[in-house]
C-alpha cells in the first residue's frame, strides 16, 4: 500500500486489528479512503466488515492499530470532534419507533448541535429530497422498510457529515427506494466531497463504488477500483448458451472439473466458465461442442469467487 500517507485522505486505517477472545475478527487491515469517493467493503457475512466500520466510527476500540483522518484527527484521541464529522447508518434500523419521524430527526439533529432554524430547514430539505415529507408526523413504528431506510439516511445526513458510514444500508429495500437513496449519496459525494464508506452484498451497488475492498476472514484480499479489480479475469471468461433440449446441469457437470477450468457455473440457461491463466484456448475448445463461446466481461462476483478460492493458500494481498 504505497498510498499509506495520502495527504488528502479522509480516512486512513493502519494495521487495524480487533480480537474477541481467541477470535480475530479484523486482522491487520490497512486502507486509505480518498476524499469525496465512495469506498465499498464487499465480503460474506462474518468477514469483519461491520467490526471494521464500528472501529472507524469510534464505537469499538481496536485491539491494535490506528484510525486517523480529517486532516490529523485520531478516533481514539479526538473522539468528540471525530463523531461530529461523521454520519452513521447501521445495518439494523436504529431510530426510535415510539417517536414520530420528525421527532426522531429533531432529536438526532439536536445531539449534533444544530440550531432550531437550521434544523427545521434540514429536516424539510431532506424529507423532500428523499420523498418522505408526508411521513414527518407519522409514528416511526408504522413505516415500511424502505421508508425507514430513507428516514435513517436523513438522520445520518442532518448535520452534513464529511464522512458517511453505511452498513448494508439497502437490505430489503425496493428498487425505487434504492435509487432515491443512492442518487442522493452520489450527489453529495460529487458536489460536497462527502466521503462514503459502504458495506454491501449487492453487486450492482458495489459496481458503482469508486473503490472496493474485498474482505475475507478479517483481512482485505484485494482493493482497487472495480474496473481494475476485474483485470485479472478479463479475457478468461467464456459464455455458451446451452443447446435447446440439452440439460444445462448435465453440461455443467461434464465440464466442471476439467483441468483447464478454474470455475464453471450456470447463468440462467447459459454456461459460464473461467479459464485458468494461460488455458484460455483449451477452455474454449472444451465448451465449443455446445455452441459458439463468447468472451464475457467478468462480474465482481467472478472476481470475488476467484480471489476467495485462492485466499486460503495464498494469503498475500492483491494490490491493484
Amino acid at each position: 500500500m504505497s498510498a499509506a500517507s495520502d495527504a488528502g485522505a479522509s480516512l486512513e486505517a493502519r494495521d487495524l486489528t480487533r480480537r474477541f477472545g481467541a477470535f480475530t475478527a479484523v486482522n491487520h487491515v490497512n486502507f486509505v479512503v480518498p476524499p469525496g469517493k465512495v469506498f465499498g467493503f464487499l465480503g460474506p457475512n462474518g468477514s469483519g466488515k461491520s467490526t471494521t466500520i464500528r472501529m472507524l466510527t469510534g464505537l469499538l476500540e481496536p485491539t491494535s492499530g490506528s484510525v486517523t483522518g480529517f486532516g490529523g484527527l485520531d478516533v481514539a484521541r479526538d473522539t468528540e470532534a471525530w463523531k461530529k464529522r461523521l454520519g452513521y447508518m447501521s445495518q439494523k434500523f436504529s431510530l426510535y419507533i415510539d417517536l414520530t419521524v420528525e421527532e426522531n430527526l429533531r432529536f438526532f439533529g439536536s445531539l449534533y448541535g444544530l440550531e432550531p432554524a437550521r434544523l427545521s430547514e434540514r429536516v424539510r430539505a431532506l424529507s423532500e429530497r428523499l420523498e418522505f415529507g408526508a411521513l414527518l408526523p407519522a409514528m416511526t413504528a408504522g413505516l415500511s422498510t424502505g421508508q425507514r431506510q430513507r428516514v435513517a439516511l436523513a438522520a445520518a445526513l442532518l448535520h452534513e457529515p464529511e464522512l458517511l458510514f453505511l452498513d448494508e444500508p439497502t437490505g430489503g429495500v425496493d428498487p425505487k427506494g434504492r435509487r432515491l437513496f443512492w442518487d442522493l449519496i452520489y450527489e453529495l459525494a460529487a458536489d460536497r466531497h462527502m466521503t462514503v464508506l459502504v458495506t454491501t452484498h449487492y453487486m450492482d451497488e458495489a459496481e458503482q463504488c469508486d473503490r472496493l475492498a474485498f474482505i475475507l476472514n478479517g483481512g482485505i484480499i484485494a482493493e482497487g477500483p472495480p474496473h481494475d479489480l476485474k483485470d485479472g479475469l478479463r479475457g478468461r471468461i467464456l459464455e455458451v448458451p446451452a443447446p435447446p433440449g440439452a440439460d444445462p446441469f448435465e453440461e455443467l457437470s461434464r465440464v466442471q472439473s476439467a483441468p483447464p477450468l478454474e470455475d464453471a457455473y450456470l447463468f440462467g440457461r447459459r454456461l459460464r466458465v473461467v479459464a485458468r491463466p494461460g488455458e484460455e484456448t483449451a477452455a474454449r475448445r472444451l465448451v465449443e461442442p455446445l455452441g459458439v463461446p463468447q468472451a464475457a466481461e467478468p462480474s465482481l462476483e467472478d472476481v470475488f469467487v476467484s480471489l476467495a478460492r485462492r485466499a486460503p493458500a495464498e494469503t498475500e494481498k492483491v494490490a491493484v
Binding site: T57, G58, L59, L60, E61, E80, K83, K84, L86, Y88, S90, K92, F93, S94, L95, Y96, I97, D98, L99, E103, F107, F108, S110, L111, Y112, G113, M139, A155
Partner: protein, 371 residues
C-alpha cells in the same frame, strides 16, 4: 447542555407514547400508599368479643364496660352457654370470648377471688399476645383498686400510678409507623423497574449504537436517562407526602425542604441502581428479574417492616448495605420526630456515600459494556 436537554426531552416524548408506564407512575404510589397504609395493620383495636356472663351483676358489667372503654374490645354479642361461646369463636364471628363466673359479683364483694376467663383466638399471635396483655392489665388494675379500697386508700389514683406515653405515635397507629418508610419503598419499586430496562431496551433495539456515534458523551447519555426519572421521582414523592398528610393525617414535624433534599439523594441512588442493573442485564427480561432481586432486601432488611435491632446479626450487617435503610431512618426522623438535620447526619452521610458509589459503578459499567 443542549445535548443533555435533547436527550431528556426525548425520554419524555417516549413516555408520552407509553400510556402503561405513564399510568404506573401515578397509580403505583397511590395504590401502594392505600394498600400498605390501610391493609397492613398491626393495631389490636376493636377486637370482637362475645360475653358469657353467668354472674349478671354490677361487678361483671363493670368489668365488661372497663374492657370496652379501652377500645381494644367491642362486645359483639352475649351468649347463654359455653358451647355457644365456643361456636362464635370457631365461626370467627368473634376473636375473643369472655366468660364470667356465676359467683363473680358475690365473690368480689366478700373479698374472695372473683373468677372470669378470657378465650383468645391465637392464630394471629401478635393480636393474641396484645389482647391477653391488655386484658390482664385491666384485671390487675381492678384487683389493685379493690385491694387499696379495702385498705382504706382514699385517692382516685393507685398507690403506684405509672402512666405510659407512647411518643411520636400516641395512638399507636401502624400507619404512622409504616407510611414514612413506605415513601422509600414506593420510590424503589417504580424507579428501579423503569430505569433497569432503559439502557437494555435501547441496546436491544439498536438505538444505543446510534446514540453513541453522535457527539453525545456517555455521561450525557446516562444523565439524559436519569434526569426525567428524577423528576418523576419527585412527583411521586410529592403524591405520597400529600396522601400521608391529608389521608392518613400524619403531619411532617420536621422541615419539608430537608425531606425533599434527602428524597432527591435517595431517588438518585435508586436510579443509579436501575442503571447498574441495566448495564449488567443482557435482555429486558433479565433486567426485570434482577430488579426484583434487589427489591426484596429493600423491603425486608431496610427496617421498613421489621426493626433492624431485632434481626440476626448477619442481617443487621447486610442491612447496612441497603441505601433504603438510611433513607427510612432519615424519613422517620424528619416526619415523626421533627429531628433537625444535624441529628440525622449519620444516615444522610451513609445514603450520600452509597449514592456516589452506585453512580460511579453504573458509569464505569456503562463505559465498559459500550466501549
Amino acid at each position: 447542555m443542549k445535548r443533555l436537554l435533547a436527550l431528556t426531552w426525548k425520554e419524555f416524548l417516549q413516555l408520552k407514547r407509553d400510556p402503561i408506564t405513564l399510568r404506573l407512575i401515578v397509580f403505583v404510589p397511590v395504590m401502594q400508599t392505600l394498600m400498605f397504609g390501610y391493609a397492613i395493620n398491626y393495631d389490636v383495636k376493636h377486637l370482637k368479643m362475645v360475653v358469657y356472663d353467668e354472674s349478671k351483676s354490677v361487678e361483671s358489667r363493670d368489668l365488661v364496660s372497663k374492657m370496652v372503654a379501652t377500645q381494644y374490645f367491642d362486645v359483639v354479642g352475649q351468649v347463654g352457654s359455653l358451647k355457644a361461646l365456643g361456636e362464635e369463636i370457631d365461626a370467627a364471628r368473634a376473636s375473643v370470648g369472655l366468660v364470667i363466673d356465676r359467683n363473680f359479683g358475690k365473690d368480689f364483694h366478700r373479698g374472695a377471688p372473683a373468677q372470669a376467663f378470657l378465650i383468645v383466638n391465637a392464630t394471629d399471635t401478635t393480636t393474641a399476645t396484645q389482647a391477653m396483655a391488655i386484658a390482664s392489665g385491666i384485671a390487675s388494675g381492678l384487683s389493685v383498686q379493690a385491694l387499696v379500697q379495702r385498705a382504706g386508700w382514699k385517692w382516685e389514683e393507685l398507690p403506684l400510678n405509672l402512666r405510659v406515653r407512647p411518643w411520636y405515635n400516641p395512638d399507636l397507629r401502624t400507619s404512622t409507623f409504616v407510611i414514612p418508610g413506605l415513601i422509600a419503598i414506593i420510590l424503589t419499586f417504580t424507579l428501579i423497574q423503569f430505569t433497569a430496562s432503559a439502557i437494555v431496551r435501547e441496546r436491544e433495539r439498536g438505538t444505543l449504537e446510534q446514540l453513541q456515534v453522535t457527539p453525545a458523551t456517555r455521561t450525557e447519555i446516562i444523565l439524559g436517562k436519569i434526569m426525567p426519572f428524577m423528576l418523576i421521582g419527585l412527583v411521586q414523592l410529592t403524591m405520597t407526602i400529600l396522601l400521608m398528610r391529608f389521608l392518613f393525617d400524619i403531619p411532617i414535624r420536621g422541615s419539608v425542604l430537608e425531606l425533599y433534599a434527602v428524597g432527591l439523594i435517595f431517588i438518585t441512588a435508586v436510579l443509579g441502581l436501575g442503571m447498574l442493573i441495566s448495564t449488567l442485564a443482557a435482555t429486558q427480561m433479565q433486567a426485570m428479574q434482577m430488579s426484583a432481586f434487589f427489591l426484596l432486601p429493600f423491603v425486608f432488611l431496610s427496617g421498613y417492616v421489621f426493626p433492624i435491632d431485632g434481626m440476626p446479626k448477619i442481617f443487621q450487617y447486610i442491612s447496612r448495605l441497603i441505601p433504603a435503610r438510611y433513607f427510612i431512618d432519615a424519613l422517620r426522623g424528619i416526619i415523626l420526630r421533627g429531628a433537625p438535620i444535624r441529628d440525622l447526619w449519620q444516615p444522610i452521610a451513609w445514603l450520600t456515600f452509597y449514592t456516589i458509589v452506585i453512580i460511579a459503578l453504573a458509569v464505569a459499567r456503562f463505559k465498559k459494556t459500550t466501549a
